[in-house]
Symmetry: D2
Subunit: 350 residues, 4 copies
């Protein structure tokens, strides 16, 4: 088939660059539009971007002209790497004009009619899109992926929730610099230091987890009855978010039972077949000191979640550590997979 033209909103930022890297050779999508802030419109992408990826900027993208963040005819999908405040204005304009906005922004994640998606975990939540279109009078729509640290957490929790009934979570995060974008955190703040605060992050993790693990019934998603307490930390790591969790369940698994469930986890066959879906979804590493942020972040092309140190907990039932690439599974890769899922599900015309 010919590839589907897509737009990237916020194309010059950290997540925008990751979109470009991931979409460079994508079998289904082709970058047709790169949009940036007003002062850059009309300029060449390659001249404006401060390219930070370690692979070269593809020449075809470098030569694209930056456009305004406005819908362009013949581009049915727009990936949004916009800041939340701007996203709140721009994403609905695209949705109204018939574009499916596949958003990494937090602006609409918690709207009841917006699917907050991890295809392996809750692909059925895409069912929110039809009522969203009706209620809002949109021919396009908005679908979202979770916050970067929530992504690693929920992929690891979902199979355990399905098997054992998750009830309580205490999660401590150790998050990389790139999660704050560019310029983001000053080096004077992060070199040899830990910052135990990221604005709004704990609330996002607590809320989004309940929605992601929730159940799609009729036309709504009912939150899962899971209590989450998050404690977040920024650490001097470039990429890769680690989460350390203590978990209580309805039915307490042994560590071996939990690892078996984690290793066997996969989404529906249609999800597994998506170009961006990793196999396996979760890699359980039995070495005592893994996963490690710098060594394990690229597994499954950055889309796999590595779980280690699955062990009993003196207070709850289980403890474990999970890691994923915050810009891939936690941002651009998640959005690309969501767009693939939308296409595979037939909600975007090909």
């Amino acid at each position: 088939m010919s590839r589907i033209p897509v737009a990237i909103l916020g194309a010059t930022g950290t997540v925008g660059q990751k979109f470009i890297r991931l979409l460079a050779d994508h079998p289904w999508f082709e970058i047709a539009q790169v949009a940036a802030s007003a002062d850059r419109i009309g300029k060449r992408y390659g001249d404006e971007v401060r390219w930070r990826e370690t692979t070269p900027l593809p020449a075809a993208v470098a030569n694209l002209t930056l456009t305004a963040a406005e819908p362009m005819g013949g581009v049915p999908i727009a990936f949004s790497a916009l800041d939340a405040g701007i996203a709140r204005e721009i994403e609905p304009a695209f949705a109204r004009a018939g574009t499916l906005v596949v958003s990494n922004a937090s602006a609409f994640r918690m709207e009841p009619d917006v699917p907050l998606l991890i295809p392996e975990v809750n692909g059925a939540h895409l069912g929110l899109l039809a009522p969203q279109r009706v209620a809002r009078g949109w021919s396009g729509g908005i679908i979202a992926n979770p916050n970067c640290s929530t992504a690693a957490l929920v992929v690891a929790l979902a199979p355990l929730h399905q098997a054992f009934g998750l009830r309580r979570v205490v999660v401590a995060t150790l998050q990389a610099a790139s999660g704050a974008g560019y310029p983001g955190v000053p080096s004077l703040d992060l070199l040899g230091n830990v910052i135990p605060f990221i604005g709004g992050e704990e609330e996002k993790i607590e809320r989004e987890t309940r929605k992601l693990l929730g159940t799609f019934v009729d036309t709504t998603v009912r939150d899962a009855a899971v209590t989450v307490s998050a404690m977040v930390h920024r650490v001097p790591v470039v990429d890769g978010h680690m989460v350390s969790v203590s978990l209580a369940f309805d039915r307490a698994p042994t560590p071996e039972e939990a690892m078996a469930v984690l290793e066997q986890f996969h989404g529906d066959a249609a999800v597994t077949a998506l170009p961006s879906s990793p196999t396996p979804v979760i890699e359980v590493d039995r070495r005592p000191d893994r996963p490690q942020s710098r060594l394990d972040l690229d597994r499954g092309g950055g889309m796999a979640v590595t779980v280690g140190r699955v062990r009993a907990c003196p207070l709850h039932h289980l403890r474990l550590v999970a890691l994923s690439h915050n810009l891939v599974r936690g941002a651009a890769g998640a959005a690309v997979q969501n767009a693939e899922w939308a296409v595979a599900s037939g909600v975007v015309p090909r």
Copy 2:
């Protein structure tokens, strides 16, 4: 008064060097003996040590000759920075010979008759020393300070336990490289990385906390009925251990009540008067992003614990972050304060 001669066992290591820095101008103690492993005996300390402190090695210490780790007449106190395995052999020999061993090693911390001390928290546990001497036939004895991450944790928890009855703790640690000694963690393992494992550390935190918060009754210490679940992480920070905790109590405090209790915390007047005791013991920092490992570790000369982000917990009652200098409050400084406490309590002849 004239100063009390003291020995340092394991004098060339990371903790040994910190002992030397802290004792260089100590009003009560004077370094009389520096002991090291067999191959260094008879050599000049200044020639053998790979000095890593940022202040100069005091000339008087540099000129001392390294001795075997054997008791020397007229030295009533020995600070032990030995590894646990070696400590298990050497510390009793000193105790038998009449020396009070003030140990940073883990070897005897959990022995029922060995005081595990943080003077502000449980100074009365020093009462274990008398029965220890009787039972073991020692004229000296062994007293210990806790593990480096436990120290920060328990100083922050103790006032809350006293006021509100602590029941459950989930603690995630973010620990500095210097906690592993020298050479310790290879740079290839720690640059831009997180290692979610430190051998034996989680068990130490869980056990030691219960003993430290326990009650001295008659001749024994009864563990506190607190359940602790620890998740440890090594981060690329030079010095400074951070702990992030979620806490459940018998009587739930508000964050303001908790902060008031933390700020007012102090040990007995006799403890407050010790040369190494910081005032205040706990500094509550109300800025939203503090404490930070690199910026706040030296408060109170490295003996204060900085607490921040005191906030409600969706699952338990409170969350907070605590930080202290792992080589001062968490190791050498703790031992020096313990020795001061022993002297002030009259269990060492002056």
Copy 3:
């Protein structure tokens, strides 16, 4: 004597904070004015500053009200931590109003009538101030300290130049993050990375070195006939600028001769007596792997320069490594010492 009231221009930045730390207990100076950008005027310093020093912000300074960057009566000295562009406008206004501006900014360093001073090296250059006042009709004036990496370089070169006649210098710098101020370099740019570029820095090093090593004759400074080639690098270090140099002289010294000259180096007796002057000025460290940025930056209170690895050069005559604290000897400490020198020289009324 009563202390001299001083102003700090650019008081909230990285260098401004270092001024406050260094002046907190200064025997001669007292902070009377803290000036900041327009949006902060009238606010409390303690509320506006994002304090990054590891010692506490002095309460007396915290309670000062931020003023505009305008001369205030009765404040004869103003320390400038302004950016060059702003300094170019504001510093002359102070000088005209009778204030001696002791500037860390690069704006006027290379003006022929502005003393560019390192008191131990070229204290006599202060003689430029009198003709400056006449020519410009100023009752105050401007004196400057060099660029942060130039400072370490020139302190190490000056005694060798005096003794052996310096002719050619190739210098490679390894500069810390704090040299770029705050927020300065993004952590994504500096974590685990080297950036071989700092705008304008190489030119500053090359020019300023010639002026600093120059000779004050009559009413002018004649540049030294030294050719300097600089290659600069930003490295992931918090504080501490290292310079590695290859040197050619008129008369080739042996490494031992060079080290002897370096160790004996001192300024005039009047300079040595200044409160901020370190003794010795240069510490020669003979250990094979020193100086090191993190371990040696605080020698002499941050004002000493540590020199190591003095060795022959296959191409020129000597190679060596020098290190100093870029915010102390390279910025705020240098300015404070310059102000002391001005006071001791009688060019500021006490």
Copy 4:
């Protein structure tokens, strides 16, 4: 053709692991033997290695049994990642037994009859192998690649030397942690620090450069008449060695002329055709702040050298910065390319 069986000596170390990664899918070579120190013989590679690469350990290699470092029949090529001391004994034994030892060790690099090779630069030096075999009575032989920092340097210098006649080089290096192997540099030494010393490194750079740029005449290599002065530094970077140089030539090029020569540089057609040869060999990056260690090390699969900041020098003629991956172009990749060159040149039977 069927692939040539090869051995890896020192297979568990940092460079050994890089060999395994690079040879995993090599079109010409197949790993047949992995050798390690005596205490590991007979054990499974996958159980003994502390795998540090970010790609998975290939299962076929994981299942190999570690052998002694002794020649095995039917394995014509052995890659040596041995330490120099051990290499001095083991490599000749292999050479005597008919194996071509392709060595990353420094043990024999400077032997007059051992080719020190960078195929693009001095492929003809392979001609030393025939007289080596005769003189030593070996049916195999030893060929070597240069030191890791020399590799980046000489690739960048070679085309300039060919075009303009290089005479003098001052080089400052900024070298990554992985250059010291594992465990290598302790994290306490390298976190937030610079160490201006690496034992023997400056001498290696100075000597090897002259040999590499030398001329093969009859049966010997005549060193180039280039004077090199090296100043080395270890910086807190994981991988990637940067060199900053000041250069003097017989005929002074402009920066533009130099960049043109660098961009057009390539080896003989036969070298360009080798599987490991990058195209282009040198990437000239005109952005003002490149190359950077973390961002540019993987170009050309780690075999390209990135050159930037080509500019005039106030003292010599040119300054520039070059970067390459110290474990690929500077170690394992260099050796693999050398083996390919040996095979392509017919000195190893296929």
